[in-house]
């Protein structure tokens, strides 16, 4: 691993080698352009948390934890529970990950994953109300990246979705005096769907999925599509500074739609959903 703090660095020879292979539709690890690395999801790894999931996508490792607390609702949505998604790339994750508050990359990551969960209405927030205007459940999802090897957006999204889909929270009720009381009942969060995120990357004219860190050094632009599990798009985010042509975007949507079905099935199987 390059100890240089300049960011992840690979030699030009390796870059040329990868570019030559990509021109023939090949990659160094023998994957096809649209193949994901082995995806492994373990849920319930943090028993104290209401929900948790550890995702390994190749060597990219991410852990998401769900904590559910009772809180006041937002003033403009008195009849809805709260959902807060936070992401942190830990200094453990790579030689150039610094400790400190989330930078613009980590904040973008958190917000894009949040968008996918929120816009798909994965969680029925109206069902997370104890007393409208006064007491609602607040669902916190915190994601920690433990090791970076490419494709953080997808790995993070799968961890968040898996943790939420398998979370169990303690129910509270109101006493006759209108006070909050903990019960000993636990329930799964009201899950309506499982959103799936697929990120496509452009290297020159080649579109590929799930690059590792070496391949990401060649990436000129990325495009994340999140599907709501009902056939609709519920979030999109372009990143990188070189953009896409319209044709490429249309091509990517088709690729992503098919891939979302495949990955969605895998994810649902591994977490025992539906």
């Amino acid at each position: 691993m390059m100890i240089s703090q300049r960011g992840y660095f690979i030699e030009n020879l390796r870059k040329e080698q990868m570019l030559q292979l990509l021109a023939k539709g090949k990659r160094l690890d023998d994957r096809g352009l649209l193949d994901y690395r082995p995806l492994k999801i373990e849920v319930g790894v943090i028993e104290k948390a209401e929900g948790s999931a550890k995702v390994s996508l190749g060597d990219t490792q991410v852990i998401a934890g769900v904590k559910v607390e009772v809180d006041r609702p937002f003033p403009d949505t008195p009849d809805k529970g709260l959902l807060i998604v936070n992401a942190e790339v830990l200094p453990l994750a790579s030689a150039y990950s610094e400790p400190g508050p989330p930078d613009e990359d980590a904040i973008e990551l958190a917000r894009v994953v949040d968008r996918g969960v929120r816009e798909s209405e994965m969680i029925g927030l109206e069902k997370l109300v104890i007393e409208p205007g006064r007491y609602v459940y607040a669902v916190f999802v915190d994601v920690n990246v433990l090791n970076i090897d490419g494709n953080l957006f997808d790995a993070t999204s799968y961890a968040v979705v898996a943790a939420l889909a398998t979370a169990k929270y303690r129910k509270y009720e109101l006493t006759e005096n209108g006070e909050l009381k903990a019960t000993d009942k636990y329930e799964k969060l009201p899950i309506t769907t499982v959103p799936i995120s697929i990120t496509a990357f452009r290297i020159g004219d080649v579109i590929l999925l799930d690059p590792n860190a070496d391949e990401e050094t060649l990436v000129e632009a990325r495009l994340t599509f999140t599907f709501d599990g009902r056939g609709n798009l519920c979030a999109a985010q372009m990143g990188g500074s070189k953009g896409f042509s319209k044709d490429q975007i249309l091509k990517i949507i088709e690729i992503a739609k098919l891939k979302a079905e495949e990955i969605g099935g895998l994810l649902r199987r591994q977490i025992g959903y539906g």
């Binding site: 943090i46 994750a93 920690n144």
Partner: protein
């Protein structure tokens, strides 16, 4: 105080999790769990789940922090928001900052810092789940991670706590005992050299109780040291220590 009928220890001397006064919780250590880090380790100690990454030695940034004759050891002890009963905000708390310092000071005597002047060695301890005694478990895993990174060390470092619960001196307090007990004494040692590198106490102990607790904690450290050795033997020599001789 009627210690035999306390709610944390029953008449037979069994604690809430069934342990006797001098029993450790189950411990498991894995070496080399993160690909990018120069060295890494993962520990489960009771309900504690902690991952440690080492980066270094490497150039010190910012440069003015570098020392001319040795490396600096930097340590960050951090608890994930989902690691505790109630969610903990991600920003470092005063407790985490204090623990980062005492853990660094517990590891420093063991590391041969003079070998790498002007560099920094970073120790990142992330508590994924916390269950009492996390600083000791963090130290135990950190020293294994340092060995995994091939950083020269005078000795491994091991951490363990003892304390007083329901009037009795016991080893390795879990979360409940830590919160409800009368005293907590975390300790870390370099086992082969025999030096104590971390000592903290809070609560109420007589001098005699302190001595008993200290002895018990050191005994616990030595037992955990064997688990460290086994983990390193398995990873590096492909055998258990007993077989390898």
């Amino acid at each position: 105080m009627d210690d035999k009928l306390g709610k944390l220890i029953d008449e037979e001397g069994r604690r809430v999790d069934g342990r006797k006064f001098n029993e450790l919780r189950p411990i498991k250590i894995e070496v080399g769990v993160l690909k990018n880090a120069d060295g890494s380790a993962y520990i489960e100690h009771g309900g504690n789940k902690i991952v440690v990454a080492i980066y270094g030695p490497k150039e010190t940034h910012p440069k003015f922090m570098a020392l001319p004759d040795r490396a600096i050891l930097r340590c960050r002890y951090h608890m994930a928001p989902y690691s505790t009963e109630e969610r903990k905000p991600p920003q470092p708390s005063r407790r985490e900052i204090e623990l980062s310092k005492v853990i660094r000071e517990a590891l420093e005597p063991a590391v041969k810092l003079e070998e790498f002047p002007r560099t920094a060695i970073d120790v990142y301890i992330e508590v994924l789940q916390s269950d009492g005694g996390s600083r000791g478990a963090g130290i135990t895993a950190a020293s294994v991670a340092l060995a995994d990174a091939g950083i020269p060390m005078r000795d491994l470092v091991v951490g363990c706590a003892a304390g007083k619960v329901d009037g009795q001196i016991v080893l390795d307090l879990n979360d409940l005992e830590d919160k409800e007990g009368e005293a907590d004494l975390p300790v870390a040692i370099m086992p082969n050299i025999g030096q104590i590198t971390l000592l903290q106490m809070d609560g109420l102990l007589t001098i005699d109780e302190f001595k008993k607790a200290l002895d018990l904690a050191i005994e616990g450290c030595r037992k955990i040291h064997q688990i460290q050795r086994e983990a390193l033997y398995r990873k590096y020599f492909g055998t258990s220590e007993a077989e390898g001789k």
